[in-house]
């Protein structure tokens, strides 16, 4: 395991509905926390990478604007986008820049102010989340795409609606303990019961997925500061090293997708690369953050990452294997389902959680047993992009 590029600082804003400020101010929240965490000054940063999904931004070319606001000019800055996995992609690019010897310290800042546009505008963009030429004309939206996977998967593998509900129940258990999460209430089976008039999660959105199977939009920012080995040792008492990175892509159109019952191909592809690079297997991972934009996505991620055999992901939720005390704790910060999903900020938020876990600084979310290897699985679009990053002390 090569220890060449480390994370020396992490930061995250609270994830909220309707942030009371501009994207510059939103970006500043995560940046300030990460810089204080790293204990470095702006002049120590060689380059910055900004990550978001541009369809929500009114500001064109936000990198230059935000770099100036954060005090990171005249250093080079640019923009990276892979929708929901933008900041994981940003970290991969930052890692590469450091590994190439071009820069010593790179800031990767993910942000999204989804409330920047009106809900009517947002609803209009929702329909254009994937293939606008050949699919959007049928009236597609994100939940419908994930529902296609859920339907095929449930038919083949015996996954039930109760299993999906229990992913959300787990998320609620931990979301309550995360002071940065947008959704901090516990979730109980009655919330999914269609016979219960107060059930807030039972209504069908895109069958078989219900309101409670989906994460919420949010505004938020995240910041990851990367450094080479020399700077990491100089600046940081507890550097967390990037041991493996994998990234994969897949056809946008559902007509070109392989077997839907097998889940997202990018999850498998990115995981294999990351494990190979880190020289570890799934068994070595002590704590993980996976991309649970929908409950079904968490189950599919278990399998893509090798935490469960293909088709058997349901057992992990049935046996509470992915709870904090289980064999492989997953999303013990509440995941996207409870934290909310500010597109460009999500990957960085997942990485922040894992860094805190490996440092033993995750507070009420800390998993027991002094975890030494952690993993982040971050998907863009409907499995259009997949990113897996492995971290160690």
């Amino acid at each position: 395991m090569a220890k060449e590029v480390a994370i020396i600082g992490v930061g995250q804003s609270s994830f909220v509905r309707g942030y009371e400020g501009s994207i510059r101010e939103l970006a500043f929240e995560a940046f300030r926390e990460a810089m204080q965490d790293a204990g470095i000054a702006n002049k120590d940063v060689d380059a910055s990478i900004f990550c978001s999904a541009p369809e929500y931004d009114k500001q064109r070319s936000p990198a230059g604007v935000l770099a100036e606001y954060l005090g990171l000019i005249p250093q080079p800055t640019f923009y990276i986008e892979t929708v929901c996995s933008s900041s994981s992609s940003g970290v991969k690019v930052g890692y590469s820049m450091i590994k190439a010897g071009l820069h010593d310290v790179v800031v990767v800042l993910g942000f999204q102010k989804m409330s920047e546009i009106t809900s009517a505008e947002s609803q209009e963009r929702m329909g254009r989340g994937a293939d606008i030429q050949w699919e959007a004309p049928f009236g597609t939206m994100m939940p419908a795409y994930y529902a296609l996977y859920a339907q095929a998967y449930m038919a083949k593998n015996g996954l039930t609606h109760d299993d999906l509900m229990n992913v959300r129940v787990k998320s609620g258990t931990y979301g309550q303990t995360n002071d940065r999460a947008v959704f901090r209430k516990g979730v109980k089976p009655a919330d999914f019961d269609p016979k219960n008039p107060d059930a807030r999660m039972a209504a069908a959105v895109a069958w078989p997925l219900r309101v409670g199977d989906a994460c919420a939009n949010a505004d938020g920012s995240s910041c990851i500061i990367l450094a080479n080995a020399e700077k990491a040792k100089a600046f940081s008492k507890k550097p967390v090293w990037i041991l493996g990175i994998g990234a994969a892509s897949e056809a946008v159109n559902m007509a070109a997708r392989p077997d839907f019952a097998k889940g997202l191909s990018v999850g498998y592809g990115a995981a294999k690369q990351a494990y190979n690079m880190a020289g570890i297997t799934a068994k070595d991972v002590k704590v993980a953050e996976v991309h649970d934009c929908f409950t079904i996505a968490e189950i599919m991620a278990y399998e893509g990452l090798g935490f469960a055999p293909m088709g058997d992901g349901k057992q992990l939720i049935r046996e509470k294997t992915t709870y904090k005390e289980g064999r492989i704790p997953v999303n013990v910060d509440g995941g996207l389902l409870s934290k909310g999903h500010p597109i460009g900020a999500t990957g960085g938020s997942q990485m922040r959680t894992i860094v805190l876990q490996l440092r033993g600084e995750a507070g009420p979310m800390q998993v027991p047993g002094d975890p030494d290897i952690g993993l982040v699985h971050n998907v863009g679009g409907v499995g259009l992009y997949g990113n897996v990053t492995i971290f160690g002390r």
């Binding site: 929702m126 254009r128 030429q133 597609t140 895109a206 997708r257």
Partner: protein, 137 residues
């Protein structure tokens, strides 16, 4: 016809595959096949990613397939709300050919099953928009 005529509502004005809409009007659902290497594409493409040829011709999609998966949309994006609920799915024709579309409105949601035999047919909406849909076999 321009590609703005494709689907319930089109988001693409200009494409070299706009002939697809004319073919729909003639009652045909066609993909493209590369004349150089034989790679088949649906939805149609004007360029071949396998051999980088631009020499493509149209071929008619098979009619007999199975429904690989589906979803019933109870919420819709802007401009599609009046159609709710509607069912969308993926039909698999084997030979590496699949197709994504809505299911015909005359199929009751409770009758839709993964693995059921399906067919496809062109569809003309009242406002003149052209599309295609998955039907019961």
């Amino acid at each position: 016809m321009g590609f703005d005529k494709f689907g319930r509502k089109s988001f693409t004005g200009v494409t070299k595959t706009a002939k697809f809409v004319d073919l729909l009007a003639e009652g045909k659902i066609e993909g493209t096949v590369c004349k150089q290497c034989g790679a088949k594409y649906f939805p149609p493409r004007s360029d071949c990613a396998a051999c980088l040829s631009k020499d493509m011709e149209w071929f008619e999609m098979p009619k007999k397939g199975t429904l690989e998966t589906f979803t019933i949309a109870y919420y819709a994006p802007f401009g599609f709300e009046k159609d709710c609920p509607y069912t969308m799915g993926v039909a698999d024709f084997s030979d590496n050919l699949k197709l994504f579309a809505r299911l015909a409105g005359d199929i009751k949601p409770e009758d839709v099953k993964v693995g059921m035999n399906v067919s496809i047919r062109p569809l003309k909406y009242d406002d003149g928009q052209m599309s295609f849909e998955i039907t019961k076999a």
